[in-house]
Amino acid sequence: MAEQKPVIEVRDLVVGFDDRIVLDHLSLDVRPGEILGVVGGSGRGKSVLLRTIIGLIPQLSGTISVFDVERDIAPEQTWRAIERRWGVLFQQGALFSSLTARENIEFPMRQYLRLSESLTDELATVKLEMVGLSPDDANKYPAELSGGMTKRVGLARALALDPEIVFLDEPTSGLDPIAAGEFDTLIRTLQRTLGITVFMVTHDLDSLRTACDRIAALADGHIVAEGPMSTMLASQHPWVKSYFSSGRGRIIEPVDGNNLRQA
């Protein structure tokens, strides 16, 4: 798998606001079919990296290529086609509050596909059930959904056009450990069944451990460690060391040795 061409290639990326540099010559590859977890302290630019890759924040210098197309030199049309091949789950879900859950999921389909009304409805229900919601939730408005349900609907909307890459911005933040664990499993299952590539920004060490194939640690504006969990634990970088060995990072092992996770 390592020989395959990366789906996302970030090279020498510099992003800053006013005179503060957030990302400083950052380079990162996302390989096809993997779940990459990006970790970093609060306000260190994890979300900025995600938003820069999907084009919400302009970079000062450096290049971003997705599916071998470099954004800054690609014609508008080509890039639009690339954008259709990914889905984004925002941190707060970013569901359109005036639309029901079903209408939220159908929104990208109606925008891009010309399908019959009944097929659109059926597809929306399929997506809804894929993310573990019942069809009864379909007619609820975002204000009536719980935090976990909001994220699930957001994920279903991100998956509406069957994207090849899914960007997740802190998918488990604000969820209780059980819901967070379920969400990790869901992402893992969907990634396996649908064969998508997942780029996940997270704080959650459990997510990193259970869901991610590879982890990239972001500190001082660039990637200081990259690889599976074992690489992280072996890293000598002070921030990575303290992050992965902090008390909150350790799995709380129950006495009887069952693999239960506790809050």
Binding site: R114, E122, D162, L194
Partner: protein, 378 residues
């Protein structure tokens, strides 16, 4: 890029064989739907059907669902149908889609018809009652809060009041002067134009003077303030409600009415009479300019006639209304703001309601005042 999707019929007697090939992905969405619909109709009436999908190069949940749907449609038509040769890498996705969509879709709640319409009217009427109760409730809370603040004057949020005075009063002066000036001009122009037919052009001063000082000055300013500042009160309080800031205040034992509502309303009660006064002067000035340029009346005559026409009583009638209108606008705006629920839509809804209701109440109140002043002979 990816191959065109195909869906061929390879019929063998009463056994139907459908062969799917190519790319069954979202990229080919509209063509695929037509293909599948055509084949499903063509396949009905046979004993059994097999959908062979070994030739599919690429498939996503969209294509998977279309195949699943074909099978279900054939089954519904009395044919025993199944998918064959599912490639292993897609097995998981097929299983997931196979399990999905088994329950009938719940109907979206859409009530139409005469009964629903009548029900809406009834709900609207009840809603008006609740609205009025809500206003009285807020008014009561404000009175309580001000009584508490009077007992402990240190709790008066002077900084906050000054801040809101700046926004509601000082920053509004420019636009209020401009609008009232133009209104004064228009009234004078219309007055001169129509009175000229009777040779009674001089009476334009009576028209402008009494109308502006008693009614139009305060009314225009109140409507302007309701649209400009009332809406911003509602939106501010509403977004604070949405971000749980108001709940946070409550948990700290701080009364949101005392901290947020009272300073805003006091600022409005101070600002509106001042703005009314300035606005009336601007309108009278507008009348003077037009009378000079269009009616040929010298400013000195205009002013001396104005002195004869307007009494202190007229001025009082106009000014007494201003603080009451300010109170109404403030109470409506704050009540609507605190009613905002979680969604962005509700914020918009309440802001609209705030402006509409306060302008409506301001005009109704103006009418009530007119009756009252007529009755006491002012």
């Amino acid at each position: 890029m990816s191959a065109e999707p195909l869906f061929e019929i390879a019929s063998e007697g009463d056994r139907l064989r459908l062969v799917a090939s190519g790319a069954w992905t979202t990229d080919h969405a509209d063509r695929l739907e037509q293909l599948v619909d055509a084949r499903a109709i063509g396949g009905s009436g046979t004993q059994s059907a097999e959908v062979d999908i070994a030739g599919i190069e690429k498939i996503d949940t969209f294509g998977t669902w279309l195949l699943e749907r074909t099978v279900r449609r054939l089954e519904a038509a009395g044919t025993t149908a199944r998918l064959t040769e599912i490639p292993d890498r897609y097995r998981g996705m097929f299983d997931k889609v196979h399990a999905a969509n088994r329950q009938p879709l719940p109907e979206a709640q859409k009530e139409r018809g005469v009964v629903a319409r009548i029900e809406q009217i009834g709900e609207g009427a009840v809603g008006v009652g609740w609205d009025l109760l809500g206003l009285v409730d807020t008014l009561g809370a404000i009175v309580l809060a001000s009584a508490r603040a009077l007992r402990r004057p240190r709790n008066f949020r002077v900084t906050s009041i000054v801040h809101h005075l700046d926004r509601v009063g000082w920053q509004a002066i420019g636009i209020i002067l401009l609008i009232t000036f133009l209104i004064g001009c228009i009234i004078a122009q219309q007055g001169i134009f129509n009175f000229r037919k009777f040779g009674a052009e001089d009476y334009v001063v009576n028209l402008v003077g009494i109308l502006v000082v008693r009614e139009i000055g305060v009314l225009i300013v109140a409507i302007m303030v309701a649209g400009r500042s009332g809406s911003s009160y509602t939106a501010e309080l509403g977004s604070m409600k949405m971000r749980e800031e108001i709940d946070a205040l409550r948990t700290m034992g701080v009364d949101p009415v005392e901290v947020l509502v009272l300073p805003r309303i006091i600022a409005m009660i101070i600002a509106l009479p001042v703005l009314t006064f300035l606005g009336s002067i601007a309108a009278l000035f507008g009348g003077e300019i037009v009378s000079a340029l269009y009616g040929g009346m010298s400013p000195a005559i205009y002013l001396s006639r104005l002195k004869d026409v307007i009494t202190v009583g007229d001025f009082e009638v106009g000014m007494i209304k201003a603080p009451v209108m300010a109170l109404i606008i403030g109470v409506v705006a704050c009540t609507e703001g605190l009613r905002v629920k979680g969604s962005a839509e509700s914020l918009g809804l309440q802001t609209t309601a705030s402006v509409v209701k306060s302008i409506f109440l301001v005009i109704v109140l103006d009418g009530v005042f007119a009756i009252f002043f007529a009755a006491i002979g002012m």
